[in-house]
Symmetry: C2
């Protein structure tokens, strides 16, 4: 395997811990499928002991994405607690390649204040839980041990803990900078000591947080020091300032192999842009324009000086090509779509993969958009495709809406909602048309659900330029107040040239996800069965 670094993607575990980023099970499966196309080596699918829903999500990813030979290994997180390890092993069973990821904190501040334990107790727990994990997965799968807060752990004790873990059967040893505290020189030195101790018996791995903006650099310093696995996330998602970005680490290795012992990865870098967009879309967490590799401006050139040099020779200001990360160089517009063949061809050029039955629906939508909009652009097509990537159950449907507003007065809105074979009509006043219509929907939902969802976040952005541009609304809601069974948020999207329509669609999509999850939670027997 030469010097191939394993890419361990934890978007679905650490990334999903981003506040407001929680995904439904269907959404997790959808992201995992794209991660498989990206050819990461390991997908950490979740933390099964957290809840039955989370265990179900891991099981479905293991089965639907990790079930075949050649698929990425599927990992599941477990505290150093026997029950956690058991649940993780069970959830991973459908996967062809499994990686149980056992962790416990080793820094004194965590041992004392969080675990309220002692160093000898921690070593005992590592020994027994790693051994348990190894017994459960057998010799053909991986057992990973992470020393949480490793970068603030006394080095002698950290090495002792790692020695215990390897002796107990760990095949991957992970060095997390949990609080994003370290810097490259220091972290490289630490990883080197770990590699010296256990590098012949286990794969050494890094897991770096970005609190000081150093996660990517620390990860790369780890590779320079001999690490052979890196834990990363798409778009750098994760707790607080997030994790090391997959796209930054992978493209740094590809762009500067000479600085990293010639290390490479198996990642299909041409899938980076598509994966970034999907993760941002489903979590509802935007990527800032000046984000490295995947930001909207990452390959844009503004100043006269740069444009001049760039036009003379792209190498003057570009160290990698947009095509290498799957960004279409072209932003040409389609005008009135040039027939079905031209449409299919354009999707292919954009690297978009759609199921054949979806293709017809998509073409119909694009044609209908071309009636309302002078030019259908690549950005429009990508936005349409993304709507289809969002797995929304349809339980509640919008039949009709109308609204009127004028300056200085309340707006009015009325809606008809179809649910369970019945139409519910409601109206409301509000501050502006969107508020009035969402309140009217809430009045209808109160009859259906016996409660009103809580609106947590709402945003709207234009897809491309022009007053006839499509608007894409993103809505985040939580379950009606008082319902503590489902404290999570649900993200819905809506796309339309009419911002009111886009907002209503997004709201209904989020509501449908919430209602679907409610049903699942209310009936745990169904949940356990659905992953089998």
């Amino acid at each position: 395997m030469g010097n191939v670094i394993w890419v361990f993607d934890t978007t679905l575990r650490d990334g999903e811990q981003t506040p407001g980023a929680s995904l439904t099970v269907d959404e997790k499966v959808s992201v995992a499928k794209q991660l498989a196309r990206l050819r990461v080596d390991v997908i950490e699918a979740g933390f099964p002991a957290a809840s039955p829903g989370e265990a179900d999500a891991v099981k479905r990813v293991a089965s639907e994405v990790g079930g075949t030979k050649g698929a990425p290994a599927i990992a599941a997180l477990a505290r150093c607690v026997p029950a956690d390890v058991t649940v993780a092993a069970a959830a991973l069973e459908p996967a062809a390649r499994r990686q149980i990821h056992v962790f416990i904190a080793t820094s004194d501040i965590h041992i004392t204040h969080k675990l309220r334990s002692t160093r000898p107790e921690v070593l005992d727990r590592i020994r027994s839980c790693v051994a348990q994990a190894r017994r459960l997965v057998g010799p053909d799968h991986e057992v990973e041990f992470s020393a949480e807060d490793a970068s603030r752990t006394e080095v002698a004790f950290l090495l002792e803990a790692f020695e215990v873990a390897v002796s107990a059967g760990a095949s991957v040893i992970n060095v997390p900078d949990t609080v994003g505290y370290t810097e490259p020189k220091e972290f490289g030195g630490l990883v080197r000591q770990v590699v010296t101790l256990v590098g012949r018996r286990a794969i050494v791995s890094t897991h770096c947080h970005n609190d000081l903006g150093l996660a990517t650099a620390n990860t790369l310093a780890g590779i320079q020091a001999g690490a052979r696995q890196v834990e990363v996330t798409i778009n750098g998602l994760g707790e607080r300032a997030g994790n090391a970005s997959l796209e930054e680490v992978v493209m740094a290795l590809r762009t500067r192999p000479g600085e990293f012992r010639g290390a490479t990865t198996n990642v299909a870098t041409e899938q980076i842009t598509a994966t970034s967009r999907l993760a941002s879309f489903l979590t509802g967490i935007p990527v800032q324009p000046n984000k490295s590799i995947v930001g909207a401006n990452a390959f844009a050139h503004e100043s006269g000086i740069h444009q001049d040099g760039f036009l003379k020779n792209p190498l003057t200001y570009e160290i990698m090509t947009p095509e290498s990360v799957g960004l279409s160089g072209s932003t040409l517009t389609l005008g009135k779509l040039s027939g079905r063949a031209g449409f299919d061809e354009r999707l292919r050029q954009l690297g978009i993969h759609v199921e054949p039955d979806e293709l017809d629906r998509l073409y119909g939508e694009a044609i209908s958009l071309a009636d309302r909009k002078k030019q259908v652009t690549d950005a429009d097509l990508l936005a349409l495709v993304e709507q289809h990537a969002d797995p929304v159950p349809v339980l509640v449907e919008l039949e009709h809406w109308a609204t009127a507003s004028r300056q200085g007065e309340s707006s009015s809105g009325n809606v008809s909602i179809f649910y369970g074979g019945q139409t519910f009509r409601a109206f409301s006043g509000g501050n502006g048309p969107v508020d009035a219509l969402l309140s009217a929907v809430d009045n209808a939902l109160e009859q259906i659900l016996g409660g009103r969802p809580r609106l947590v976040d709402y945003s709207l952005r234009s897809i491309g330029a022009g007053e006839d541009a499509q608007g894409e609304a993103t809505v985040k809601i939580a379950a009606p107040a008082g319902d503590t069974d489902v404290p999570r948020t649900f993200t819905g999207h809506g796309l339309s040239t009419n911002v009111v329509e886009a907002s209503l669609r997004a709201y209904l999509a989020a509501v449908n996800k919430l209602i679907a999850e409610h049903a699942v939670v209310a009936n745990p027997a169904t949940t356990a069965g659905s992953g089998a």
Copy 2:
């Protein structure tokens, strides 16, 4: 001065080169005033040779922000061209401390393909332009020389160029990683060689781009190698993936002094959050939630495990306090505002500085908001304050609007616009209420301007949660097509609990900035005079 690192902020020069981030002169002055409160050492205000408007902006910053003793030094960029240096020196004249920043590319790829020149010619130009800059500013100010694309320049030639610059009078030698190509170990090694050569005769500086996500790490490696100035931007704004983030570099030094030779800065870190918000607001470039230090989630804790540890002891998961970057720990709501004293007190706690006459207007707006919204939160107050930070000339005013929409049909909108003592009425149909109303405004503007602005970008976000939340609209427009004198974009903001109202206000704000700039461009004599 011990080991104090100079913080050279280039938000107004390199940051403003972010596509779509262009600022009006008033907006630049507003950002510069906040940078002075942040206590950066140098403000690079612009590139005066680029246009008369840019020269005016630099002159106004030099005069209004840099004119007093104790203010930051003001820097201006100049190519290695005699005319550029002359214009830069003139623009800096009102500043108490001046820094002319002369640059030329030194890498073979830039010399050959962009400059179409040779190494000896480049050395000649460095010698003559640095000497010219030194003559123009005299011995009491700084002359900085930058070797563009230094990280891809043959080291021997780079050192030769720097030797020439120092001999000709440069007091600051800058090592830019223009294309974001280097990594910390390599860049630290390069900076060390530069420090060895010229470190006793000049301040060595870094300027790192973030194409591979390594700008902050490279900057810090430069400090470890002896650099004493760092060029950075707020929010990491800048060409492509942007520059090293001021906030990341400064907080890394503050959090880990032992790793950086005890280096410190003069930055008032408590002003970081306010500065970040202002830069994002005026440029219209959002900060992603998982951005280090200044992202909305940077100090948020999501997962159960983290919350548990955090509640037991914040140090388990937090390496710096939110207060140290000026983030109010509290998110308490004000309810129906508890009187004028409570209001003033809350603003003070939030670290908000407002002129006394603004205070009354702000209080009135908050009271009026409390009538339409159950709870006025800190987020609402900050959003109100930001509206006042946006210097919008009032030339065109909205008198009235009304709109109606229903599913499956075009929306209608009508508006009355007041301009130059006259009311202009117009109506339009459109896809949804916002499209209809903006088109109606355009119809009115066509009578006023003889053209329609081009909508480049539109977005809307909720301030906090709840259906009664305020919406903040951001609109970017460009001048009517064909007008190549003003190819720049203008950003407008609007805040209202009614999304239609917010959108219209944002559009009118952008239009007013565009019209004001048009007048300036049409009459250069006025421009040149306004900075005196």
